[in-house]
Symmetry: C2
């Protein structure tokens, strides 16, 4: 929804890419290979043609990048903001889908890539973080607008990870979803959470806190649990970093340098 | 979209039923057996809980009626009107899906049920047609808010009909879609188009014209082409009525009592 999930004035091609990629990220988190998608578009008649022409260029680019096809959809007029939805389907070998519900006490907790860039990208898009270099600002905007669904990692985790989820609402919030679904507690060491150079810079300059980064949304990295004694799959397209453990209990406990971190914001709440 | 596809203040359970049924109607038109659906909901936070509680009751009733399951979805906040989308999937034996594109000159053209009730139901919902009986008005509202997807008819037409489409934008507009996809012309005799008692009453009282009925949308009946010498399938849950022919040419020609009917409105245009 324009103004809720993406800022007004965002390049429509980038909106298309993010829309598709956040859905592919959900498939990645289940270890699935994407097959196709359906799209629903609501837009005001005024200006629709130009907006949609740019929008479909973004879809086209990512259809090629991810080798998926548009299977159908619907476009309707609305008096409200532009609103877009995608239903994407993917395939896994029978019984091998990664779920949120399999984490067991003793498992190690990993994330892919770096955390917090999406939240910082939103600050930049809103005119914040003026102290960062232009390159850092561009990097963060790019992470916000064009996330990388971790499809190859997800597929390599089939039969390996005990649970997985993609980080869309924020690391801590999505860890909470895994903890609830698995009936376990998760222990996260914020000091181990991998950060990009841009995020480290923002942290060092005091324009963001570690809590902002681990509570902010829009990372679209994978969080997964790996049973003790299981090797990480090789050949991942990005770093995989251990950030904590699964334990008996419930909820998510975050520490930083040995002390509990209090998190005022528990991730994005939709309603 | 509230205010575009359904009137503000419509019972949310009925909105749910229509949303699901118009999608099942699309599956019916392809001869498919419904399997499941995904739903996307956009709603303002204010009042969302009560609205959604009623909405899911409608979904539940129709899930049971049509023996389908909710497979997933997403609910998000919007500052705009309530907007809903469903992606429904169904199955057909390989190669047997009914398409819009197979109509051949010489085929006969049929519709299921009665035509124009949805358009009249919209007039009633907006306070029109005061001269009709309460029973007729209720019937028309019901046809508008709770269409009957012709799933059994669609399935019985597999391997029988040469082309099929469901009538959502209006008989003439959807006939136009079939004509275009098939590369043929369609000849419709408006005098043969089946009308409900309520629609005949509205026509008789001069509160609607035959053009209103065949150009109005929201019928969710099937339009299909049957090759010459092919028998209609038996056991249909509603009448099947021949309304015309497929011919060499293009577009849709409508006659009434032997004269061409001019249609100022060519069906619902989305954008």
């Amino acid at each position: 929804v324009e103004g809720v999930h993406f800022l007004e004035g965002t390049d429509p091609a980038r909106v298309a890419q993010k829309l598709l990629r956040v859905n592919l990220s959900d498939l990645a988190a289940m270890g699935a290979e994407p097959r196709g998608y359906w799209i629903g578009v609501q837009i005001q008649k005024e200006g629709a043609k130009a907006w949609l022409e740019s929008f479909v260029l973004g879809l086209k680019a990512d259809q090629e990048e991810f080798r998926i096809s548009l299977m159908g959809g619907d476009t309707v007029a609305t008096p409200g903001p532009i609103a877009l939805s995608i239903t994407a389907i993917g395939m896994v070998p029978k019984g091998s889908a990664l779920l949120r519900s399999g984490a067991k006490p003793g498992d190690r907790l990993y994330v892919s890539g770096t955390i917090g860039d999406g939240a910082l990208g939103l600050k930049v898009a809103r005119g914040g973080l003026p102290g960062l270099s232009e390159a850092a600002r561009d990097f963060l905007i790019d992470r916000l607008e064009c996330p990388s669904p971790r499809l190859a990692i997800g597929q390599s985790l089939r039969g390996v990870a005990s649970a997985a989820i993609d980080i869309s609402d924020g690391l801590v919030a999505d860890a909470g979803h895994m903890a609830n679904a698995s009936g376990v507690g998760l222990q996260i060491d914020a000091g181990q959470v991998p950060l990009s150079a841009a995020a480290q810079d923002a942290l060092g300059k005091g324009s963001a806190t570690i809590a902002d980064l681990i509570a902010g949304g829009d990372d679209f990295e994978l969080l997964f649990a790996l049973p003790e004694g299981t090797d990480l799959p090789g050949g991942a397209e990005t770093e995989l970093t251990q950030i904590g453990f699964v334990e008996v209990g419930q909820g998510v406990a975050v520490t930083f340098e040995g002390r509990p971190v209090s998190l005022p914001k528990r991730g994005y709440t939709h309603l």
